[in-house]
């Protein structure tokens, strides 16, 4: 038993060290945010006086109200639409007989590995052609498209596991495909859909490349994109930058902590099946 106890203790200590390494950057960010604006605070030192005001300053400097609004517009444009059409497609590919099923499957799967950088250049010119540059739609539309491989595969993986008998029974009762989908399958798929929604929410919030390339005005970007602009402008004022970063990352932490259980379960399932 002695060795096991020692193992356990070594394990605990190791774990605590790893946790500390994970947490320290957050702490450092927080402490630095409390230093007087415009200074270069040395490392992890506490300021003589806590400048809580920095958060307010950063909020104003970044025009955070407008940023939040823009981010929510983008979230509302992306997440519901992406969920809806991915669920439809996932249902069809996972549960119905669709011609060219195999081909469609492969087309979507190949998209899973596609780096966004691979298409960002033409996307810029495509958006310019549509006259959408510098609008939230320039982020919303491509993002829905880019999420499709993952989202469709995710929902497909869910629907593949739904028993066929269920659908057959509904068909016997005379349900049309739409009724089958809407009345029978969607209610049973709530957990899968909810998890996907959380993932898409975070990915949209954190989307950087599309935001900085397709939208110039930080007030029409995603939160991560706006943070990039904030750094571009205030990167030389470290405490203010840290305060702004904290403001922008906190909502992601809140969403994660609140929906942690679904989120983790979702990620695991999705990653392994997708």
């Amino acid at each position: 038993m002695n060795t096991t106890a020692r193992e356990l203790w070594t394990g605990r200590i190791l774990l605590i060290v790893v946790m500390a390494v994970t947490i320290v950057p957050f702490v450092s960010l927080f402490i630095t945010a409390l230093h007087p604006p415009g200074t270069y605070p040395p490392g992890l030192a506490l300021p003589e006086e806590f400048h809580w005001n920095n958060f307010l300053l950063a909020f104003e400097a970044a025009n955070m109200g407008a940023l939040l609004q823009s981010s929510f517009i983008i979230e509302l444009g992306v997440v519901p639409v992406a969920i809806l059409i991915a669920t439809l497609a996932g249902f069809a590919l996972g549960h119905l007989n669709v011609p060219f099923k195999r081909t469609l499957f492969i087309i979507f799967v190949l998209g899973l590995t596609l780096p966004f950088e691979g298409i960002i250049v033409p996307l810029y010119y495509q958006m310019r052609e549509y006259g959408l540059l510098n609008t939230q739609l320039a982020i919303i539309l491509p993002l829905i498209g880019l999420f499709m491989p993952f989202a469709v595969m995710w929902m497909r993986a869910h629907f593949v596991n739904m028993p066929q008998e269920l659908s057959e029974a509904a068909r016997m009762d005379g349900a049309s495909t739409w009724q089958l989908f809407w009345r029978v399958h969607v209610p049973l798929s709530r957990p899968a859909i909810a998890s996907l929604a959380i993932l898409l929410f975070l990915w949209t919030w954190n989307q950087f490349l599309l935001a900085i390339v397709l939208v110039d005005d930080p007030e029409k970007r995603t939160m991560a994109g706006a943070l990039g602009a904030f750094q571009g402008q205030w990167g030389t004022d470290i405490p203010l930058l840290c305060a702004g970063s904290l403001l922008i990352l906190t909502p992601t932490l809140i969403v994660f902590l609140v929906f942690q259980r679904q989120f983790v379960a979702a990620l695991l399932q999705g990653a392994v099946k997708g």
Partner: protein, 324 residues
């Protein structure tokens, strides 16, 4: 397809009666029509997703390939360049360097977090439902949910000359080794790698944990009874069980290394020199700063292909026996 219509002459002149082959063909065609008809609702359901994917992903993807054969500044008319952009890609160290850097980042973005993830997961599993296990699972995952941009900002500050990393090193007597980690040619790429590792450890840990919880606990007991130490136990019991999750973790993290952009954009902008330049950033610079759209597109094609080349074999590896 078309042959079935064009051979009328010979077919009719032949004495043979409508044989089994003809019959079969008709049946097949009927089946096809039926399949299409019954398949129609399904196709309609796939259509919106496919449309978005087609217009905003496949179309620009095709355009990337197209642009890559041109010389274009984004404003005036492009001129055909053939494979020039690809030739330069393979011969110009400024373009080859970023690809090599990205490959090197795999060590930090993938290998390191996978190893740490495995270790952390093994420890957490042993603790079962203890409080520490639960907390650590949450804490280790936090870096995954925040914007990479924020991670870049935090770490830029930590790794600065006056940052916490150097401060800690001074405290433990490593004064001689302190430096501006992101501004030093020898350490900038590994320093950027540390940021990536920090972000990815949580994901790897969680994936490993998911794999490990599937293992029948009696297997561990059996291993212990056989006198296996923690390492033997891990290699012979745990590892085979988590193969699939391990594969997924490697794939996701390798992709994140190859397509890294956010962290580097924020922390080093590719410098010092071009020691941390990666393909994503180089594409961005070439396209929107130097306005060499063709060259940027050729690099984008190369990056896309590179990801496929690296990931496809990994994918096959993880699937081969666990799916059977």
């Amino acid at each position: 397809m078309s042959t079935s219509w064009s051979t009328t002459d010979k077919a009719t002149s032949r004495p043979s009666a409508p044989g089994p082959s003809d019959d079969l063909r008709r049946k097949r065609r009927a089946a096809k029509v039926r399949r299409l008809r019954t398949g129609l609702p399904g196709l309609l359901l796939v259509a919106p997703a496919l449309a978005f994917y087609g217009v905003f992903v496949l179309r620009p993807l095709a355009a990337t390939v197209q642009y890559s054969f041109y010389e274009w500044n984004g404003i005036s008319t492009a001129t055909w360049a053939g494979v020039d952009n690809y030739v330069r890609l393979l011969t110009d160290p400024d373009l080859l360097g970023p690809i090599l850097n990205a490959l090197q980042l795999i060590i930090y973005f993938s290998f390191v977090p996978v190893v740490f993830g495995v270790i952390a997961a093994a420890i957490i599993r042993k603790m079962g439902a203890s409080r520490l296990a639960g907390i650590s699972r949450t804490v280790l995952f936090l870096p995954q949910v925040i914007p990479l941009v924020a991670a870049g900002i935090m770490w830029t500050w930590l790794l600065a000359t006056d940052g916490a990393v150097n401060q800690v090193m001074r405290v433990i007597g490593l004064d001689g080794l302190t430096r501006a980690w992101l501004g030093d040619f020898d350490t900038a790429l590994p320093a950027v790698g540390v940021i990536g590792a920090w972000v990815n450890v949580g994901l790897c840990m969680l994936l490993m944990l998911a794999g490990m919880t599937k293992v029948d606990p009696s297997l561990y007991e059996a291993a212990r009874l056989d006198g296996a130490g923690p390492i033997r136990e891990f290699v012979s019991v745990t590892l085979p069980a988590v193969r699939q999750e391990l594969g997924v973790a490697i794939i996701i993290t390798v992709i994140s290394a190859l397509r890294s952009f956010d962290i580097i954009f924020i922390s080093t902008q590719g410098g010092p020199g071009s020691s941390t330049m990666v393909p994503g950033l180089e594409i961005y610079y070439l396209a929107f700063f130097e306005r060499e759209i063709g060259q940027a597109s050729a690099l984008a094609v190369a990056l896309t292909v590179l990801v496929l080349i690296v990931v496809l074999p990994l994918n096959r590896l993880t699937r081969s026996d666990s799916d059977s």
